[in-house]
């Protein structure tokens, strides 16, 4: 199956939650130097430590951009623990297209970036 399915292309050309948040509770930026993909995530938390608002900025291939867009939709309203527990396999299931070995880093960049941001946030609280 072709990875450029309609839902992927839709998220690529009309990304959801694209943009920035001023003074976010969570911010992290990472790159995938091998491909030159770049993702930054911004999130705000509500009192119960769930993600109330999330945005991202990204540059790169269709897979990295679409996965960032899909991930932000998926995590909105979820608790930090829940989001931190999302596995690579969960992310690939969310994308619903077969990701080959060479594109894996593109597909997982947004998730890894968000989880790194959560980790930094939690450490900062201790």
């Amino acid at each position: 199956m072709n990875i450029y399915q309609e839902h992927i292309l839709d998220h690529y050309s009309n990304p959801r939650n694209k943009g920035q948040i001023d003074n976010p509770d969570i911010y992290y930026k990472d790159t995938n130097p091998l491909c030159g993909d770049e993702v930054a995530v911004y999130a705000r938390l509500d009192r119960s430590k769930s993600i109330s608002e999330i945005r991202f900025m990204a540059r790169g291939c269709a897979i990295s951009q679409a996965s960032a867009s899909m991930l932000t939709e998926h995590v909105k309203g979820k608790s930090l623990d829940e989001v931190y527990g999302i596995s690579s396999e969960d992310m690939l299931r969310l994308l619903m297209v077969p990701i080959s070995h060479v594109r894996m880093k593109c597909a997982l960049l947004a998730l890894k970036t968000l989880q790194a941001g959560i980790l930094v946030h939690m450490k900062g609280k201790k």
Binding site: Y4, S13, G36, I63
Partner: protein, 411 residues
């Protein structure tokens, strides 16, 4: 044997390459990733099968028939490789690949560098021709300098002259850029390097497969290339070095085969070229490389070059006529490697959608991250040609690029 240039017959050449009969995603394979590695003709595949099936033995060791046959075949490949670049037998060292060849020089010569010495490379080097130098320079407190490229993607010769001085010990530059297709004026660089007393090393990974090479006429001190980019198998490469330099150099790997005499206290090293070839070598690889060189020489390297020049001019013409395509590198006087980007589309997406059409190109940074930052690109799509490619295949690539636009931009 070909003499003078004559048009190479790509369609009869194609029949020698079994893989070109294969389909990818239901479409006939169009292989345009030759700068990464080339395909292999039947003659090369058969030579390897013949070795393993009929005379497999270790070389230089056994006094028995099979070992003699294997040694004979392996060393006659070395003779072919030496002749191919107009080097001496003793000056032709087998390595694993161009990377190992460059590392051998970097370790053996580079270890003699000291504080204040300078090494000069260019901005268009493959990682294998600058990371070893960068690391040696860090260790030795030497300075690594980068020659700039100009807007067209050519080496800036004024900048080169400015980088050279009494402190320059080594100049190591690629003959052909694996990203830009630029052909560097290596004879001129050799002269400039020698004028200031430096050694000149040529990375010929992208030139040896595609054009006639003559180390004497270039005037270089060392030259490196890989078999797998020139129809031969992986795991074997060549380092040429001037005899007097190799004689004075320390080996970089120690072990069997490179020894003349060992006592518990000391070792006398074997003579050239074996001094640099410790351990059982890649015998099948050497034999396969010999077959590949035989195949290329039958076509004639002039003809190989002319064929690729024709293809790259044709491809450049097609790509440059598209408004949304940016082509990197010189417009003229270049080798058959073309890097480009479609406006607003990542090179990975270009390569992945072309793959659906059975077309293999490379998308990425091509192991040249400093060059990418210089070009302000996170990567490029790259098509690279060889003897079996045709204009029709370039047409197919151009129409597939239409598809890329259609899928990703709805244009």
């Amino acid at each position: 044997m070909a003499s003078g240039t004559m048009q190479l017959n790509a369609s009869s050449i194609r029949e020698d390459f079994p893989i070109l009969g294969r389909k990818v995603n239901g479409k006939p394979l169009i292989y345009l990733d030759n700068a990464a590695t080339s395909q292999k003709p039947r003659q090369v595949i058969d030579s390897i099968r013949d070795y393993y099936g009929n005379y497999n033995a270790n070389v230089h060791r056994g006094i028995h028939r099979l070992s003699e046959e294997a040694s004979e075949a392996y060393e006659s490949s070395r003779e072919k490789a030496a002749r191919f670049i107009n080097a001496g037998f003793e000056e032709t060292i087998f390595t694993k690949n161009a990377t190992e060849s460059l590392n051998l020089v970097a370790y053996s010569i580079g270890m003699q560098l000291g504080k204040g010495d300078e090494v000069v490379v260019s901005e268009m080097e493959h990682h294998s021709n600058f990371v070893p130098w960068q690391q040696i320079c860090l260790k030795k407190g030497a300075r690594l300098r980068f020659v700039k490229i100009d807007k067209e993607g050519r080496l800036d010769m004024d900048d080169l002259a400015g980088c050279l001085n009494r402190k320059t010990r080594i100049v190591s530059i690629t003959h052909v850029s694996n990203v830009l297709g630029t052909i560097n004026p290596v004879r001129e660089i050799a002269k400039l390097a020698h004028d200031c007393g430096a050694l000149f090393i040529v990375d010929a990974a992208q030139s040896a497969p595609h054009m006639p090479l003559d180390v004497r006429s270039i005037g270089c001190d060392f030259l490196a290339f890989s078999s797998h980019k020139m129809l031969g198998p992986t795991g074997i490469g060549v380092l040429y070095g001037k005899k007097e330099l190799l004689d004075s150099m320390q080996p970089f790997i120690y072990g069997g085969d490179m020894i003349r005499e060992v006592t518990f206290e000391s070792t006398r090293f074997n003579e050239l070229p074996w001094k640099f070839e410790a351990g059982t070598p890649n015998i099948a690889g050497g034999i396969g490389l010999g077959a590949a060189i035989g195949y290329l020489e039958k076509i004639g390297m002039e003809n190989v070059f002319e064929h690729e020049k024709m293809l790259s001019e044709y491809a450049l013409g097609r790509l440059l006529s598209e408004e949304d395509i940016k082509v990197y590198g010189p417009k003229k006087g270049r080798a058959g490697v073309i890097s480009f980007n479609l406006k607003g589309i990542h090179a990975h997406d270009v390569a992945a959608i072309l793959d659906q059409e059975g077309i293999a190109i490379r998308g990425g940074h091509h192991c040249a991250m400093p060059l990418m930052s210089r070009l302000e690109a996170s990567g490029t799509a790259r098509a690279s040609f060889y003897i079996y490619n045709t204009k029709q295949e370039i047409d197919a690539m151009a129409s597939a690029l239409e598809k890329v636009r259609g899928v990703l931009t709805g244009r």
